[in-house]
């Protein structure tokens, strides 16, 4: 792993904002007293007239964003996911989603990998909150490069978007040439043998899914699909890979209930039921600890993904 570049998804976000600042004068950044850790500080310094400070007021972060977007700006509203969309969920629902104005909601520090801050700051339900709101697009990039592209795509999208970012440095899997299109999942890795399990992963845990798939290649051939867009879900690709492999594992650093796991289960139960195993948080809160140990403790590392893959494949009906 030593030669792999490590960078947090939030850093890709910060880079994209700088570019957007140059590219589009309508782009403004609103932040609730977290400029450094949400990675909007560089934007603030370069475009002070388009940086809007809210103080510790996440409900107002959403309503100010709504007003700015209603007027004609493209506001990015930035705070930790635990508060944005955690605290201001109703303001987002009424004044952004129902109002259908193009606010871009950036939720930082998602997942248990925030680490030492503990459960209060580990957002594990933000995807669920956002994907049940009509008009809302939900993006969960796998690395900093994809986070950069997702941020640019969010700005170009005419409606509201939720972007989920992580605090920790994680492997940069994609390159500037990797395509990114909202709603289009892509195959991150595929065994040379015909896959017997399809692994759908979202966010930086894609790296763990890849590690698991490569390790078990000869025992259990797999295909790993990166689901960077949780809504609109790429149902076509999900069904295609579920059909080909006959068993599925879903991987996310989020509650399984309502998260990508829920979304994939909803899709496949309707379109093509196959055994599914869920790697994610199972109705628990997180706790303080180091990111890596928390990922392992809550059963989301490569070893657990491998175990889940075997279980899913083993549940296939014989013959």
């Amino acid at each position: 792993m030593s030669d792999i570049k490590m960078e947090a998804t939030r850093d890709g976000f910060g880079r994209a904002l700088l570019e957007l600042g140059e590219r589009d004068k309508r782009v403004v950044v609103c932040c609730a007293d977290l400029a450094e850790s949400t990675r909007v500080l560089a934007f603030k310094e370069k475009y002070p007239g388009r940086y809007i400070e809210l103080g510790v007021a996440e409900q107002n972060l959403a309503t100010i964003g709504s007003g700015l977007a209603n007027y004609g700006k493209i506001p990015f509203i930035c705070s930790y996911a635990a508060f944005n969309p955690g605290r201001n969920n109703e303001q987002i629902r009424t004044t952004i989603s129902l109002n259908n104005v193009p606010v871009k909601i950036a939720g930082m520090h998602a997942g248990v990998s925030v680490g030492p801050d503990g459960a209060t700051h580990q957002a594990l339900e933000d995807i669920a909150l956002m994907r049940v709101q009509p008009n809302m697009v939900v993006l969960s990039p796998c690395d900093s490069e994809e986070a950069y592209k997702a941020t640019l795509a969010a700005a170009a999208h005419p409606g509201p978007v939720y972007l989920r970012f992580a605090r920790e440095k994680t492997p940069v899997i994609t390159t500037p040439d990797t395509p990114f299109e909202i709603g289009k999942a892509w195959v991150a890795w595929e065994s040379e043998h015909s896959p017997e399990v399809a692994i759908f992963a979202t966010g930086p845990l894609l790296a763990e899914a890849l590690e698991a798939a490569k390790k078990m290649e000869h025992a259990l051939p797999a295909v790993v699909i990166n689901i960077h867009t949780i809504k609109p879900l790429d149902r076509e690709h999900i069904v295609e890979h579920a059909r080909a492999a006959g068993a599925v594992v879903v991987v996310e650093e989020h509650q399984v209930a309502g998260g990508l796991g829920g979304a994939v289960a909803e899709c496949l139960s309707e379109e093509y039921p196959v055994p599914i195993e869920f790697v994610g948080i199972k109705d628990r809160f997180g706790q303080s600890g180091e990111p890596k140990e928390l990922i392992a403790y809550y059963g989301m590392d490569a070893a657990h993904i491998e175990e889940a893959a075997k279980k899913a494949a083993g549940r296939k009906k014989s013959g």
Binding site: G55, I64, T94, T95
Partner: protein, 287 residues
């Protein structure tokens, strides 16, 4: 030019708006009565004098923006818009009905001219403030238009209101004028019993606002404070408009039980009979 004839016309419009409110509420069979009747004079003042607007071009870029935070009083807005020519008055009777553009609480995408979606209390001031801020970025120092935000007193209970109030003061949003309908009632009773709000003037002043108070049924006085607000360059202005809930129908005035219910058919007949005798009389009571 605010002549006696202009004021008289606004008062007549307010009377017509009140009648339409009662007609639409009884047809809907649900909705709020006290707030809309209490705000009829102010809405008439806005739509027939204060606002720079074009009923035939609701998306006109230079229009003043009237953002309604307490969306539950939307019948008065719909009635005022209809009488101003945004849509036929007859359409008011579709309020709260399936397929209607006149939703129980207003929606931006449903009806052109309502500016934003509101109803859940406490979130309108922030929306209006964001809008005003955006406008000021593009048209310094005061924007090409003014932003007005109408709030209820009940929603002064909400934290979001004060987050927004603090932010408006911090940003000296002088292109924003907020109006609180100070009618002293909310669903559970009198505001000072449910959750005391006073001293509202001192609170807003402490948050960096210029505060004016006015009788919300005195059209010329209301227009005058709106004009004063335009002359305040360093602060957002709040107008505390003292109103009587249910104004115009004596038997329900001041009664908080009428906050959230419509008249039944018999009541509506009585209310309308009373309102039809009242044309233009409300102002004189306050002179």
């Amino acid at each position: 030019m605010l002549t006696d004839a202009t004021i008289k016309n606004i008062e007549l419009k307010a009377a017509a708006i009140r009648e339409t409110i009662v007609e639409m509420l009884v047809a809907a069979g649900s909705g709020h009565t006290a707030g809309p009747l209490g705000m009829a004079d102010i809405f008439a003042a806005f739509y027939f004098y204060i606002l720079k607007h074009d009923p035939h071009n609701p998306a006109w870029e230079e229009r003043d923006r009237l953002m309604l935070s307490n969306g539950h009083i939307t019948p008065v807005r719909y009635a005022a818009m209809a009488h101003a020519g945004y849509f036929p008055v007859a359409e008011c009777l579709t309020l709260r009905k399936f397929g209607s553009r006149l939703q129980g609480h207003p929606e931006r995408e449903k009806l052109p001219g309502v500016e934003t979606t509101s109803g859940p209390l406490g979130s309108g001031l922030g929306q209006a403030a964001g809008y005003a801020y955006g406008a000021r970025m593009d048209h310094p120092p005061r924007g090409a238009f003014r932003v007005y935000c109408l709030m209820s007193d009940g929603e002064q209970d909400a934290g979001n209101t004060w987050e927004a109030a603090m932010w408006c003061g911090a940003n000296k949003l002088s292109n924003l004028t907020a109006v609180i309908d100070r009618n002293n009632i909310q669903i559970n009773g009198m505001t000072e019993e449910v959750m005391p709000l006073e001293n509202l003037r001192a609170k807003y002043e402490a948050f960096g606002w210029h505060v004016l108070e006015v009788d919300g049924h005195n059209v010329s006085a209301f227009i005058s404070v709106i004009e004063q607000a335009k002359a305040i360059y360093e602060k957002p202005t709040l107008i505390l408009a003292h109103t009587i809930p249910g104004k115009g129908v004596k038997e329900i005035e001041f009664d908080y039980h009428w906050h959230g219910k419509p008249p039944n058919k018999e009541e509506a007949v009585r209310f309308l009979a009373e309102l039809r005798t009242l044309k233009g009389k409300i102002r004189s009571e306050h002179q």
